[in-house]
């Protein structure tokens, strides 16, 4: 069993190494750290900060977009965290971690996570030993480290930074079928550097097209969670260096809650936004000639997913209405479509046979009804 487990571990490690595009080393002269290894800060006097500088290098083959640099463990503080930057092949960035032991003794204290677009997340253990002052070891339990060791002496608490009150702001206001910029704004300058995550939860309908858009060349879509960094003296969180991040609301009525928290779980801000049920949004109505008649294409969304009847009113090229509106009951089609769509988006095509000169039809006004009422749009 042991050799098999060992083999599995080796294989996993090899795979991780093979996929990893970046390398991490302590400056100025190493060592290099592979994911899963322990970064040991050595023995440090209790209460005295000790800072190490690390270099994160892109070994290729492509540009690396660093999306998250987060840390767990109260004895460690991330500083000069440059998350959100793109690193060209052969280039590197630097960041610092400060270890301040709150009590004497050695322990495995925390973790560092490095996240980059298209890369497996890399984890590193953080360790250090406090020397002097109160005797005995101290351990800060992490979620996965259970049960935690019992401290032999009461640790001396490290003065935690007092974070100013934060607010999650959406500009423009969140409505269905839009892209807004989400920012985290603080009422006072930040006391220290830091890093954390902004998480979006929802009540009501899910939506596969709802999520964050990273400011990288491909606009990487992230459904529910993005990393941010905090810089001492600033009053906003930064997403890949930007003071806000684009959020695509999707096309489903729901309440969205954005929560910003540090890597250690400390909540900095939380805000809920309600996207109310609305009439059908018609983004595009197209009229084109087809064999034996015309074809009408309607692209839009229904954030209630209750669409039912459509009405088509045709006009000639001099903008005179042709006959009466033609009603089409598509209730059954919508009810069959939405449960499999994952969003409120729909693309509808309706063909009409025409007797006479179809080329003389100039436009069509399309109206769609749902539980909130009717909306209409004239074809392009």
């Amino acid at each position: 069993m042991i050799p098999r487990l060992l083999l599995s571990s080796l294989l996993a490690a090899c795979c991780a190494l093979a996929q990893q595009q970046f390398s991490l080393k302590a400056l100025p002269a190493g060592p290099d750290y592979a994911p899963g290894q322990t970064i040991d800060f050595g023995t440090v006097p209790v209460g005295v900060p000790s800072t190490l500088t690390f270099q994160l290098a892109n070994n290729g083959p492509g540009r690396l977009v660093l999306t998250g640099l987060t840390l767990d463990g109260a004895a460690f503080q991330l500083g000069r965290a440059p998350a959100g930057v793109a690193i060209d092949v052969g280039k590197s960035i630097e960041f610092t971690i400060t270890f301040t032991p709150p009590a004497s003794g050695a322990a495995r204290l925390g973790e560092l996570w490095v996240e980059a677009a298209g890369q497996p997340r890399a984890e590193y253990d953080l360790a250090g030993t406090g020397q002097g002052q109160a005797a005995g070891a101290f351990v800060e339990a992490r979620a996965e480290d259970a049960p935690a060791a019992t401290p032999e002496a009461t640790p001396t608490p490290t003065p935690a930074p007092v974070w100013p009150s934060g607010t999650v702001v959406a500009q423009p206001a969140l409505v269905s079928g839009e892209q807004s910029t989400i920012s985290i704004q603080f009422e006072a300058p930040l006391p220290v550097d830091g890093a954390g995550t902004l998480t979006m939860d929802h009540t009501g309908g899910g939506d596969t097209q709802r999520g964050f858009i990273l400011p990288d060349p491909n606009g990487t879509f992230v459904p529910s969670q993005v990393s941010f960094t905090l810089t001492q003296g600033e009053s906003v969180a930064r997403f890949m260096g930007n003071p806000g991040i684009v959020f695509q609301t999707g096309t489903t009525a729901s309440t969205l809650t954005f929560t910003a928290a540090l890597g250690n779980g400390t909540q900095l801000a939380s805000q809920s936004f309600t996207i109310a049920p609305a009439v059908v949004g018609i983004d595009l109505a197209l009229l084109e000639t087809a064999t034996g008649g015309v074809l009408v294409t309607v692209d839009g969304y229904d954030n209630t997913r209750t669409a039912s009847t459509l009405s088509f009113t045709f006009y000639d090229t001099t903008n005179h209405q042709i006959g009466q509106p033609i009603l089409v009951d598509a209730t059954a089609q919508f009810q069959a479509y939405f449960p499999t769509a994952g969003t409120g988006l729909f693309g509808l095509k309706q063909a009409f046979n025409v007797t006479g000169n179809a080329a003389a039809i100039g436009s069509v006004s399309v109206s769609v009804t749902n539980s909130q009422g009717a909306s209409s749009k004239v074809s392009q």
Binding site: Q19, G62, G118, Q119, G177, E178, Q179, T208, I213, L214, P215, D216, P217, N218, G219, T220, F221, V222, Q248, T249, T251, D283, L284, L286, G293, D299, G300, Y301, L310, F314, D316, T317, H320, I322, I326, V328, A330, Q333, A336, T343, L345, F346, G347, L348, K349, Q350, A351, F352, N353, V354, T355, G356, N357, A359, A360, I361, G362, S363, S379, Q380
Partner: protein, 267 residues
């Protein structure tokens, strides 16, 4: 009114035919990683899926067709990016012209100067369909930017008209509207007199909608580095700041824009 009703009477059985529903298709977008991704959605709710093919040098999509240039081949794909045909092609870039719908388009290879017609049913050919009338292209070389009307029967140039104050990257839309970069913005120029004079014969009367009548400028977060045909009604504008591509759709007298996010991939 009676006359109109007689001319446009609809067949009742057809009107009662049930509509077809699907995810709205917006076209395709080429990533900086060379992947060509199908794009679904509407303004403000677009999403590019997993790449259908890699190593793409240039591409253009319409509602029904995609022309894809890799280093040494030209591919014809359907609106869903399924491969229909692949042909040998000279190395390097390509420029495309695709109508919003239809099964043929045009490709121009700057490296060789070849202008070809290509379609689902036909190999690329320089002897063009004599029924296809003319092709209008924008040319920017040492003689300065100008609009050129080319006979698709024999490839000869019928006429030329100089274009004032335009700069690359740029795009010529099917109605003669020109979209081009200017600093950190885009200029949307309606068809002017020179363009109108060269316009193709009107086969079908224009719909009674209001188009762009005056030139207007649209601010961008950063300078545009490319303007590609993303779909039948969409342009994709890539910006110099390395951020997500911007989708642009002209609609009557206004324009709509949004970012085009892409599902993450691990190559």
């Amino acid at each position: 009114m009676t006359r109109r009703l007689a001319a446009f009477s609809f067949c009742l059985t057809a009107a009662l035919a049930q509509p077809a529903l699907d995810a709205p298709r917006a076209g395709c977008v080429r990533g900086t990683d060379g992947g060509l991704r199908p794009v679904h959605g509407i303004t403000g709710a677009l999403l590019a899926g997993a790449p259908a093919t890699w190593s793409v040098v240039a591409a253009a999509c319409s509602d029904s067709l995609a022309l894809v240039k890799t280093d040494r081949s030209l591919e014809v794909r359907d609106g869903g990016l399924a491969l229909l045909a692949r042909w040998d092609a000279p190395a390097g870039a390509a420029l495309f012209a695709l109508p919003r719908t239809g099964q043929t388009g045009f490709v121009y290879y700057p490296g060789t100067g070849q202008l070809l017609q290509v379609g689902v049913q036909q190999a690329p050919r320089t002897v063009l369909d004599p029924d296809a009338l003319h092709l209008m292209v924008m040319v920017a070389d040492t003689s300065g930017p100008r609009l050129v009307r080319i006979s698709t029967a024999d490839g000869t140039i019928d006429s030329q008209a100089p274009l004032q104050d335009v700069a690359a990257p740029l795009a010529l839309l099917s109605d003669g509207t020109i979209v081009f970069a200017d600093g950190t913005g885009l200029v949307i120029r309606p068809p002017d007199a020179a363009v109108a004079g060269m316009a193709l014969p009107k086969i079908r009367p224009a719909p009674p909608r209001q188009g762009i009548v005056t030139e207007r400028r649209m601010a961008l977060p950063a300078a545009a580095v490319s303007i590609d045909q993303m779909g039948g009604v969409w342009l994709a504008v890539r910006l110099a700041d390395g951020s997500a591509p911007l989708a642009l759709r002209l609609e009557g007298a206004s324009q709509r824009t949004c970012r085009v996010p892409a599902m993450g991939t691990a190559q």
